[in-house]
Symmetry: C2
């Protein structure tokens, strides 16, 4: 259990601290560069980030750059980030302006037992040699670690028959 | 560097072994129950899993069950899995029937530096007290660890204007 004391009324912690259960380990593959350096500035989601403009970049570390081969400008990709500044201990959370708390798995809050961010972004520019991907927008703090990139496939990434 | 010797022609390993770079730790929140107990049987994606039938379940461990509050039958959710039996060392991979190798980040292969699976599934039944979610289908091996669940939000999880 972490000792956060800034809980809102109705919020409930997990009975274990996920940060202290090392079932598997992640390797960072790079970092996000974004216009947002303070939590208070950070857009709440990608729609808001697009509206506000400013773009963003994914900087891929040298060992992982060869794995970018085959991505193309214009592609939509899921970025997976590790929201390293998020707490991990809340089971029920009180979203701002909500009337009652909601389960973490029913929310897209960055606060989750494994604080993985899922961001569907558009590749505007790709530089394979420097490992720089220019994005249409991004909704995480500058410096957030990257852990995966996956091509968006409408056949599996949208509910069928929509 | 792992010592896998079953590389296909054209496949290339990363210059570091991601399994040995512990930048962050994951806590398993549960396990997937699926009809697939052997790799050779496992569907290649969710579309194939739906066609073949058999459903699947997500079993959430007791400490994490309170976080399910607010999910509803009929919801579409992203399951995030940890594909624990996948190798993590390939930068370029030769997909079956492909003519040339492709970068890992341009593929949805389970082989990736952080073997996270992303699966958009339909909630058919929810039992909050036992932590059992019945799914329309799932495309991973029985016993695969779960690391997150996120509600599907069309406003951010689809490319805009489609």
């Amino acid at each position: 259990m972490t000792d956060h004391t800034d809980q809102r009324l109705g919020e409930v912690q997990f009975a274990v601290d996920p940060a202290k259960v090392p079932d598997a380990s992640l390797a960072y593959i790079g970092r996000v560069r974004s216009p947002w350096t303070e939590r208070s500035q950070c857009p709440r989601n990608l729609r808001e980030a697009r509206d506000r403009g400013g773009g963003g970049r994914a900087l891929i570390d040298p060992p992982f750059r060869p794995a970018l081969e085959g991505l193309n400008v214009g592609d939509w990709v899921h970025l997976l980030t590790w929201l390293h500044r998020s707490r991990r201990d809340l089971a029920l959370q009180m979203p701002r302006h909500a009337e009652r708390p909601k389960g973490t798995f029913a929310l897209r809050s960055p606060v989750r037992p494994n604080p993985i961010g899922l961001h569907l972004v558009h590749l505007v520019e790709i530089d394979l040699s420097s490992g720089v991907l220019t994005l249409d927008a991004i909704d995480v703090l500058d410096g957030t670690p990257l852990i995966d990139l996956k091509p968006y496939l409408p056949g599996v990434d949208r509910p069928p028959e929509t």
